[in-house]
């Protein structure tokens, strides 16, 4: 019970911080969702880092080190490559967003392609991708509360309680609350993860080298990439896909808008890769659990960090770990909820009813927060998978927005609205088909060479997306040219 009290106290502090952050500000939609575009390096850094240290890192990262071994290292790489990309990409996005006073990701597509209909499509893709992401945060919340209570509070009850706190918190404070809680979260997670990552290997094995040797002896090949399945070609395709998708999450995309100036992004790009090194300690904790608390299969791997913590430490410290974990779910969870609700209100509802006023959109966005939360709750209880596979599914979906976004930044118009829409629809349809049927390339085309079979299926969708985008853009352009032709021949 001590552990649970510490977790509850942490949540209380977070909520108080969030409510205080709101004081003295008129919460219009721009304040609520992009903080009035006045955030400096530190807040933007924390919001962006919110992406790195979510429940996914904390429970999923250690869970993957525990369950899969070597392939977990992909998590280190995709973030780094995304930061390289961010150096050039984010300033361009930010400049455009500021000029056009954009609030959401869908606004970007609407403005760039001058097509509210494309904005609706992008909103829907974004919201659909956010649901598994939110589900994984809720699952994480449930795991933490239930484990820290020693199983006394059932999983279902803790998920529901967590969701209620999350929805209330978002409605009240918007993005300023998230930024403030993010500060608390990052300090806590930093301390907890570094401590666990150093203490556990030393305590149980006497050192990192000794730990890895022991694992390698017990499970040969576990620490490297397997020849089949999660092979190097899986690794490369997954890293690329996740790096492209990194800023395509609607909440990361609009977090870009909160910056005060564009230099913020270039400065952050330099520091963020180093910040990723914390992941190393997450892996250490997960690897320590491999031999100390063996036997967790499949999605139970996500429990490994908390199991080894409970086995090793006093209840109060389990509470601190749990509290840090709850914050890693709360911060991204709140950003996700807020973003999904804003897009549905502004980019879907308002397109259908253009007469809606700004104030009404703001009110509707807040009303939609609990609605989205309930939908995510439904999926949390119906259908389950490990935290990382949920994330990978969401990534495959959001990445489909990447080609049209990047091409739209070109000075010349290389892609038109129909092409962009067709590419996105085809890409998303292929991801959905793979996910729903559970098919793999290896199953569909057993004659392919092994490296091709192991490609992440999201890559197949991405390639199809780009092809369709190109072909449709060309056809619709030529179509226009043909329509123009007769008059030309007459005059000639």
């Amino acid at each position: 019970m001590t552990a649970l009290l510490v977790v509850a106290a942490t949540v209380l502090v977070a909520v108080v911080l969030a409510v205080r952050a709101r004081r003295g500000r008129d919460m219009n939609l721009e304040q609520w969702s992009v903080g009035g575009r006045g955030f400096g390096s530190i807040f933007v850094f924390l919001l962006m880092a919110g992406e790195i240290y979510t429940t996914f890192t904390f429970l999923g990262g250690s869970g993957w080190a525990y369950g899969k071994g070597g392939p977990a290292f992909y998590i280190l790489c995709y973030g780094s490559l995304a930061f390289v990309m961010s150096y050039w990409l984010l300033p361009a996005l930010w400049r455009y967003a500021k000029r056009k006073e954009l609030l959401s990701q869908a606004d970007f597509f609407t403005a760039k392609f001058d097509s509210p209909a494309l904005g609706v499509l992008v909103s829907l893709v974004g919201v659909v991708a956010l649901v598994p992401y939110l589900v994984l945060q809720l699952k994480g919340l449930g795991i933490i509360v239930s484990e820290t209570s020693g199983g006394r509070i059932p999983y279902a009850v803790s998920i529901i309680a967590g969701t209620v706190v999350l929805a209330a918190y978002v409605t009240i404070s918007g993005v300023r609350g998230s930024a403030w809680t993010a500060a608390l979260k990052d300090v806590m997670i930093l301390v907890v993860v570094v401590f666990l990552g150093i203490y556990l290997p030393l305590h149980y094995f006497g050192g990192f080298g000794a730990m890895f040797h022991a694992i390698d002896a017990a499970k040969p090949g576990f620490l490297t990439l397997p020849a089949k399945g999660m092979s190097p070609s899986w690794f490369v395709s997954t890293v690329l896909l996740s790096a492209f998708g990194f800023y395509m999450w609607p909440h990361s995309f609009s977090a870009v808008y909160t910056a005060r100036d564009e230099r913020v992004f270039r400065r952050n790009a330099v520091v963020l890769p180093l910040y990723q090194l914390i992941l190393l300690f997450v892996f250490f904790a997960g690897f320590a659990a491999v031999l100390v608390v063996p036997g967790l299969k499949g999605s139970d791997g996500d429990l490994s960090l908390l199991r080894i913590t409970t086995k090793t430490f006093d209840p109060w410290f389990v509470g601190v770990v749990g509290g840090a974990g709850v914050l890693t779910a709360l911060v991204p969870g709140s950003l996700i909820l807020m973003t999904a609700a804003t897009m549905l209100a502004k980019n879907v509802y308002r397109v259908a009813r253009p007469a809606t006023s700004d104030r009404q959109v703001g009110v509707l966005a807040k009303i939609l927060v609990p609605v989205v939360a309930v939908v995510a709750l439904y999926f949390t209880f119906n259908g389950g998978d490990t935290i990382v596979s949920l994330l990978l599914m969401g990534y495959s979906l959001v990445t489909q927005l990447f080609p049209a976004m990047v091409l739209s930044l070109c000075r010349r118009r290389v892609v038109n609205t129909v092409g962009a829409a067709a590419g996105i629809v085809v890409g998303v349809a292929i991801v959905a088909a793979f996910t729903v049927s559970g098919a793999t390339l290896a199953g569909l085309a057993p004659w392919l060479p092994q490296p091709l079979k192991d490609l992440n299926t999201g890559v197949v969708a991405l390639v199809a997306n780009v092809l369709v985008l190109g072909v449709v853009t060309m056809i619709t352009r030529r179509h226009r040219a043909v329509r123009g032709a007769p008059t030309e021949s007459v005059t000639a």
């Binding site: 280190l76 780094s80 490559l81 930061f83 390289v84 080298g209 620490l223 230099r263 400065r267």
Partner: protein, 64 residues
């Protein structure tokens, strides 16, 4: 294509290429299996490379 843009390609090559030719546990470096050490080294190098790019980029020079 300026030099600083080309520098940005290095981390991509290092990490993705590493999936093939660094995919082994031996030799252990700093107690880490070689593949983990390799990826980690590239995370640090990514930061270093971006710092160099930042320095070279005239956009960051104007005082504010």
């Amino acid at each position: 294509m300026r030099l600083r843009h080309l520098l940005g390609v290095l981390p991509v090559l290092g990490m993705l290429g590493g999936a093939w030719f660094a995919d082994r546990t031996e030799p252990y470096v700093l107690g880490l299996p070689f593949i983990l050490f390799w990826m980690l080294a590239w995370v640090v190098l990514t930061s270093v490379i971006l710092a160099v790019i930042y320095k070279l980029d005239p956009a960051n020079r104007s005082g504010e």
